[in-house]
Symmetry: C2
Subunit: 192 residues, 2 copies
């Protein structure tokens, strides 16, 4: 499956993939990440399980792809950063608030992705790197081009940890944004 996820899909294939992703999003919202199976998603998409496995080699891959599209691609943050404020603290807060909002709107997806992105499939690995880079870039554009690498690292790790704890239920989605604000401000203090 490692070759199939995006590159070089013809129209028909792309449509099949889209149907699967749409069905997965619906199924996820309907029954949650535990109850969802590839076969029910395939059924909902009007496609055979074998076909589903052609495009998504594992449930993890499906979740990771869905997360990437729904959370990152469909919700770019450029404007949030630009209108987010004049200081780095404000712009960083805009990044994390934006993410918290998007995730809070799809808690099932967030929790599913939490598990999925830990997977070892090559497909998941690829998406993990893409997603990590995207987060990194968002912080970089919030901090400006001459940001300290260690600082970026600290922000990214703290965000990662917060998302993890949210997925585990230790932080509620309602609290996430505020918690992140406070943590980011704490980290930035002395590093602005």
């Amino acid at each position: 499956m490692s070759t199939l996820p995006r590159r070089g899909l013809n129209a028909r294939q792309a449509e099949t993939v889209q149907k699967l992703l749409d069905a997965a999003a619906q199924e996820l919202a309907a029954v949650g990440p535990e109850a969802l199976t590839i076969r029910t998603v395939a059924g909902r998409a009007g496609v055979s399980p074998a076909t589903a496995y052609t495009y998504f080699g594992s449930k993890n891959h499906l979740y990771a792809e869905l997360f990437h599209r729904k959370v990152l691609l469909e919700h770019p943050v450029e404007q949030a950063v630009e209108v987010g404020g004049r200081t780095p603290v404000e712009r960083v807060a805009a990044v994390t608030r934006h993410l918290a909002t998007v995730l809070g709107a799809s808690p099932h997806l967030a929790s599913a992705a939490n598990h999925a992105l830990l997977g070892t499939d090559p497909d998941v690995e690829r998406l993990r790197i893409v997603i990590g880079a995207e987060i990194h870039d968002r912080f970089r554009s919030a901090l400006g081009p001459d940001a300290d690498a260690e600082l970026l690292d600290a922000l990214t790790l703290a965000l990662t940890g917060a998302l993890l704890q949210t997925g585990m239920g230790l932080i509620s989605y309602d609290d996430l944004a505020d918690r992140l604000d406070a943590v980011m401000a704490t980290i930035l203090r002395g590093n602005a």
Copy 2:
């Protein structure tokens, strides 16, 4: 299973549990987290699978318990903090270095626990909270009793994120200690 993990085990049961945990550690080191199954662990422990499921309701529970015992209970950090240095930065570094060392010695366990602690079983949830509290306490004793809550939060989240990324392979165990040093120092700057 939620009632059985620790409380009120008689000698025979405690021995069974210990045999299972020992077998799990061996199996984990031998074949890695993916290939391990409850049944092979039970076999190695000389116990039936049904018995194994009596004490560990899921593979996640088994991993979480193993992690808690091997990483936290068998490796208390008190002395590390005490001899770690005089400044908060040095003592925090002692905590994270200590953890990084222990985890680096059992990468399979670390990665298994990474997955497992995300589980939804009640047993896992309980251990998650216990483990989280333990980490929190370590930072608190490193920072002193009057530590800022937001600062503690930031350190904990960054550590969590770093452990996550290590489990995912984005940070090597060799780099982990140094990365953590740098990140912790960055966060502490301006918050000492």
